[in-house]
Symmetry: D2
């Protein structure tokens, strides 16, 4: 795993990170990976936490760094891991988010529909593997959970994967929400393997409880912060409007890379095409699409004749974010109609268009803890217990799905 | 200075920052200020320090926060400062960088020539003052050093201004160069006023020495890091080429806001025009120009028929940065010619165009310490001494101008 | 509240702490307060966490610092607090632990029986108040919850008092158990007063949950760490033995200040005496008793002819701590007898004396959360809810009393 | 180097420190090493920096931890180091300060004269080596610079040894003087070996400059802080007085371990005796002498009939430290006489005794930088340069000996 060029990355979160494998350097230097420098990890959250400008690039490298520590710990405890496996799992982590586009969540619901970032990650990995003469095959097997040693996959994707251990700490660090800080190093020290499964030694039990609480705190304080929710749904509606208009033949100018997707010159199926030319064209262009394309295009739309497009664009760029209300029960139809009528009056739009100004929906934290069951605690006698049983405290609240309904609308709308 | 809406900004560097003045909130909410969210403080440095993605927005708010602490300290020591002066100097700090464009240094030497960011800051302040019915007049007087209490200006601009105390700490924090950390809070605790001048109490002397050393370290490790120098000069050459081609009538597509400047539809003098329509048009458009415009335009140029434009564009976007050599003496003409001949062969360009691939110049750290003389130490008997005299150590080395010559060129060029 | 001498204390936990009141300086400079420098906050915990050597002195000053921040926050939110009240509540916090002796818990169960550190604190406050001509009267009223504004007392003693907000953070900091870190500053920002009661604004709800979890983690990881429990019970037994021997007329040499208590020349009732000479003699001597007295006396006992005294002394000083076993159910009588028989054989002691080598008991975390009910969350509509109801998660586990039985005995004992 | 018991120490400065060698565990568990828990690293500095209560125990373990990192770095760069050498140099660092007594500096000038802590360290190492059947021989060779690979000794003792890299950071951390923070990890990453010599790679040059400045700052701000100087000289005088009185036959009660040295029952030469019984008796008793003995004895002396002894004792315990004046030139004889006359009047002592109340002397920082010449910078071409030449700044000021004269006397003395 040695390399001629030993490079060091300065990371404010983890300190010096060494890049000492040619394979990893080759991945990092590839334009598809470099592009992650131009995609913020938290998208529009920086409108609420202005320092949260960290990118998917640092995160990917951070996860690679953490897994190296984890592997060292596991090896010290007598678990066998070969050098190839080590290089492979590190590569898998470097690449785990390679398919993310700018403002992923919004993009997938509008301009780049029909293919998820997870699927895109796989396509990019395959293509890179082809270019690198199969040297990523092991990494891909681990990523896809096809490799016999299942615990290696769990380091990449599970309740305690390096992805979470990096992003929770990193997002907390850059947003300044210091309470979200997770003792990732401590948890890593407590990892072990039992029956080919990643587990946590019993003395790490409090750290795991703290991890679960911190994770929950980050969800409500950052990821599901109500102003962030508002901004993200404005973005979804804005990109949907742009997409609709373009489909309807209206001229919606955009930067070069975005235009190809907006005008359906590249479609989801192109990424799955057996024709390498078609597939690589799609990969190439998506591979240069980044936050700047979205922002520049939106800035251009601020003067667009369509009032929906221009108003939403100005609202995002100038940060006149919609007011948001939360409720445990859905908002009544009459309340929504009432708001839409105000929007019609205020912006001179149709009832149909008013739905772009009065956005309702629901948020749920379920995504992240549905499976909270499978963190296993390893006792000194070799027995395993699910954290929920092992813990003295009732963790149900942490794993229960919380649903909240919301409605966002411009502050200019007077509510009666 | 009270406000109805007490807002808090989460800053990873200084913690919670309160925004409790309507005046300050009005400034911050203005689109001209919001735009600073989209301009990185350190431009291309993130190509070397990947986490250095912090923006001029956070920096501006950070300086406002520091000056509040400084004013508290000064008042506690018996110096009279009115509430209006407090609000004014805080506003001056919020606005001190308002005229910065994206990649300022490069832009001023290429597409937006003929007006400095300092002059632009003044024009923006004037315009905002007009819009805000003169409520910024005191801030502007302090900023321009026209206000009788000179020490207030020194908080905004001097060897120990809040600008430096914020950016050194912030740049060090986000780049992960922890050695650059300056104890800004400690220095602020030691500030005092003597003869209408900002001075440092004698027990702060070691902190000042440390500040000078840390500043120097940040210069060589970050601001003048050789790879950063290479990237910045590539950017200058690239934008100059774009500008030249546009002037020569070649079609150089760019995003909307950049195009106006590239095609000289807006010129430096417009910002100075007495015709408000002309001036405000210039301010408006420059007021939406940001990092994304530059990046998107460059991405578009990767396919441009001009080999200079396309090669430099690809090199920056894909991070194939030029190799850089430093030397205490200038590089010989023959060495440079030799390199250019290689470039001609490699890229099929003319000798004139080769100057865009073989970039020589000199860097100097003088900008920051020429005037290092004027940090004054206040002794218990009321006497002042220049830090250079007051310090036991020889600070000349820190204040001496260091000049280094450099030459950058593509790695593909084989040097004999 | 101004003082001629503005002093600053460097605190690694909170940064610079200003001492700007003559009243506070006078308290701090008194020998009774200075003595806290020689009493470790965590007693024997440093045998497990070697850096946990912080003293009650720093803690007391830390709580004073925090309450100043809390008062600033409360005043900013419109709550009226006079300067006298401010000075008073700060003084109350400085003095809240003034009655603590060295290794308090162990001392109170052995050599200084019959008076608790809480009662002692009151006696010291009274005496200092007398010496300071009644200038502490307000502080004492607040401390004793006799002052009309009850929320001031809650800052000194309640589920969210400054005592906890300081010690949890401080103990976590110095022990290096970084997961115990509580965002005390954040919680303080969220404090408010409603119906003369200290409450937390609703947006602080996650911080409170995190605080409860961190507190629990600190209990099990530090305060009730099993090796710490073992060390503390060895200390209790050791001091009880010394006390028993002295009462029985055996010569048990000790340092001067300890000897007075060991030989019952000063008794608990002396602190309550109406005869000022007697009371002040007791206060004076207890006021110079510190960790060093206990350690030196124990070192002297390492050679004592009594095998119980000498063995326990050597075990503590050389850190040959007893092995400890925990169990959810009590240990059986036969198990304990068996262990004692081993001790009799090993140390040549009687069955009665064997109880000093085989120590059983139970620990419970109830002390700290029984009353967890009374943290109130303030909603925007002015309503209050108990945190247990307000939180989405089930906090019962955090407030439930956990009981564990333990038995400690020398490692030299072979268990069958 | 593997051990059956893998132990972890929680260190707030460096995080988790693993103890994974039986040899190291055996050293640490020995009473001679455990005693370091009871000796503060910075002696009386905690009277100025109240949190500076860290002990020689944590420091010793910290240096061991750092050298493990350094060895990893050096091995990665291709330098050969065997496992035995690794274990040896780590043991050497664990033991490098084993001979320190409580308040070493003061003790060596008073009660334990005639043998330095350096010599004592060697004697203790020899004795431990004997007990451990020669398993420390390699560690001792390295410590004494008798081992062929000289760079190993430089890790233990040189301008860049692990001792400094730990104590500067640790002292800065616990005192809260955050400006003294040294980037020890960064420096360690830059270490290399050239011609069997420890050197620093050229890119570490700014870190070294910063290290030199931080070291200087720590000297003046902490180690030579004027109030610390005053306290330390009061302690020297106090212990000298106790020693003088004891020699003159006056009864000076002290704790058991101190009494043996005070009454000359153990003398310096006993440590050098060829008679093992005599030597081990000395080692044994010195091996239980700690801070607590000094403090308890002083507390006892507060009531001693000798006014010098009692006054100095009370002044230290109650922290009524002497006022201190500094000057670049020596204080005049007449000034000193004048002060002594005041002392005679105030304390009813003789002129000779007045010298215990009016203490003059000089301090110098030379000890730490005389040899600053020998930090070598390694250039890419393999050449070495002394840091003084390699640095752009003039480091002479940092290496120049600064001498300051001081006089301390009780505040009660009125100066005319």
């Amino acid at each position: 795993m040695k390399s001629s060029k030993n490079k060091i990355v300065n990371d404010p979160v983890w300190g010096f990170i060494e890049l000492d494998s040619d394979l990893h350097l080759e991945i990092i230097e590839h334009p598809y990976f470099q592009r992650l420098r131009r995609i913020k990890q938290l998208g529009l959250s920086s409108l609420v936490y202005p320092s949260a400008n960290h990118t998917r690039f640092e995160h990917a490298i951070g996860t690679m760094h953490l897994v190296r520590s984890a592997l060292d710990v596991l090896k010290k405890k007598g678990n066998k891991i070969t050098e190839e496996e080590e290089e492979g799992v590190m590569a898998a982590l470097l690449l785990h988010d390679i398919g993310h586009g700018p403002f992923s969540h919004a993009l997938e619901q509008s301009i780049v529909q029909g293919i998820s970032h997870e699927e895109l990650s796989c396509v990019y990995m395959d293509e890179l593997n082809r270019k690198m003469d199969g040297r990523l095959s092991l990494a891909i097997e681990i990523f896809l959970n096809l490799y016999p040693k299942r615990f290696l996959h769990q380091l990449v994707s599970s309740q305690l994967d390096m992805d979470r251990l990096d992003f929770l700490k990193r997002d907390s660090f850059f947003s300044g929400v210091s309470e979200g800080v997770v003792s990732s190093e401590r948890i890593i020290k407590m990892l072990h393997i039992q029956h080919d499964q990643l587990v946590v030694e019993v003395k790490g039990i409090y750290s795991i409880e703290k991890f679960l609480i911190a994770r929950r705190l980050m969800y409500w304080q950052v990821y599901l912060h109500k102003t962030v929710i508002s901004a993200e749904h404005m973005m979804i509606k804005l990109l949907q409007r742009a997409s609709n208009l373009a489909s309807a033949g209206v001229n919606v100018p955009a930067t070069g890379y975005l235009a190809l997707f907006l005008n359906k010159e590249i479609k989801a199926d192109d990424f799955r095409s057996n024709d390498l030319t078609i597939r690589n064209r799609a990969l190439h262009h998506f591979g240069y699409l980044d936050d700047a394309d979205i922002l520049c295009s939106i800035k251009g739309w601020m003067q667009h004749p369509d009032p929906v497009l221009s108003n939403l664009s100005r609202a995002i760029i100038d940060r006149n974010l919609f007011k948001i209300k939360l409720s445990k029960t859905p908002f009544s139809e009459s309340k929504l109609i009432n708001l839409k009528e105000q929007a019609i009056k205020k912006f001179g739009v149709s009832m149909e268009e008013a739905a772009f100004f009065v956005i309702d929906g629901k948020i749920t934290n379920s995504a992240y803890d549905e499976e909270a069951e499978n963190i296993y605690i390893l006792y000194k006698n070799g027995k395993l217990k699910d954290i929920k049983e092992a813990s003295d405290i009732n963790l149900e609240g942490l794993t229960k799905t919380v649903r909240k309904h919301f409605v966002c609308y411009p502050v200019e709308i007077i509510t009666r």
